[in-house]
Symmetry: C2
Subunit: 125 residues, 2 copies
């Protein structure tokens, strides 16, 4: 399929897909007679995985390591799988930390909002 469909299916923009290809995060994408990219179903699955990692905010350097491991000749060896698992686990920890931060921020914001609403409500008192 062409880049428009790959984009629609993976949720990544066409620009982001091209950017990921430039950054060596994809297996080589074949080209048709016109020089247009021709994505396989596997390619789209990989793009979808990258999209999920991206939404979680995993740094591109980590995504690159993940990609390198997944595209290595021995990608399915226990060692490579352990490498990828370690990346995912480390990232899960940063997400947990971010959630904690988000909690604090929400509490702060709600506190501030309450101060403002209280003040505005009693402006005639």
């Amino acid at each position: 399929m062409r880049i428009a469909e790959a984009s629609a299916r993976s949720g990544l923009t066409q620009d982001t897909i091209r950017f990921y290809e430039k950054s060596h995060m994809l297996a080589p994408i074949t080209r048709d007679a016109r020089g247009w990219r021709d994505f396989s179903a596997d390619d789209v699955n990989w793009l979808t995985t990258l999209e999920r990692l991206r939404v979680t905010g995993m740094p591109l350097d980590d995504v690159k390591h993940f990609a390198a491991s997944a595209h290595a000749p021995d990608a399915d060896s226990p060692a490579q799988q352990a490498t990828r698992l370690a990346l995912l686990q480390a990232h899960a920890e940063t997400l947990a930390a971010r959630r904690a931060e988000l909690d604090i921020c929400e509490a702060y914001l709600n506190h501030k909002i309450k101060i403002y609403t209280d003040r505005l409500e009693t402006k005639d008192g």
Copy 2:
């Protein structure tokens, strides 16, 4: 106080404080005879507020509007307070959305992690 102490108290780096000043997000900071910034307690309170907004990921444009309202001559008027309240409420909504996204991402990550751990555990079977 000087910038080092303002930085320590507010949690912002010295570079970020200078950047915020350049970007007109602070009330004018007085300078001593040497030309060094001299922060008042009020200045530091304001920096601390900005740090909280920053950690929540409020876009700088919004923070600038917030700052403009807080430093307006009629900053304490109901209209200006309502302006700031609206900014905070809008931001609280984006935080709620981000939390929802984070939930989905954590679920996805945990799912992936489980797949890997299961596969590695049974590698000898």
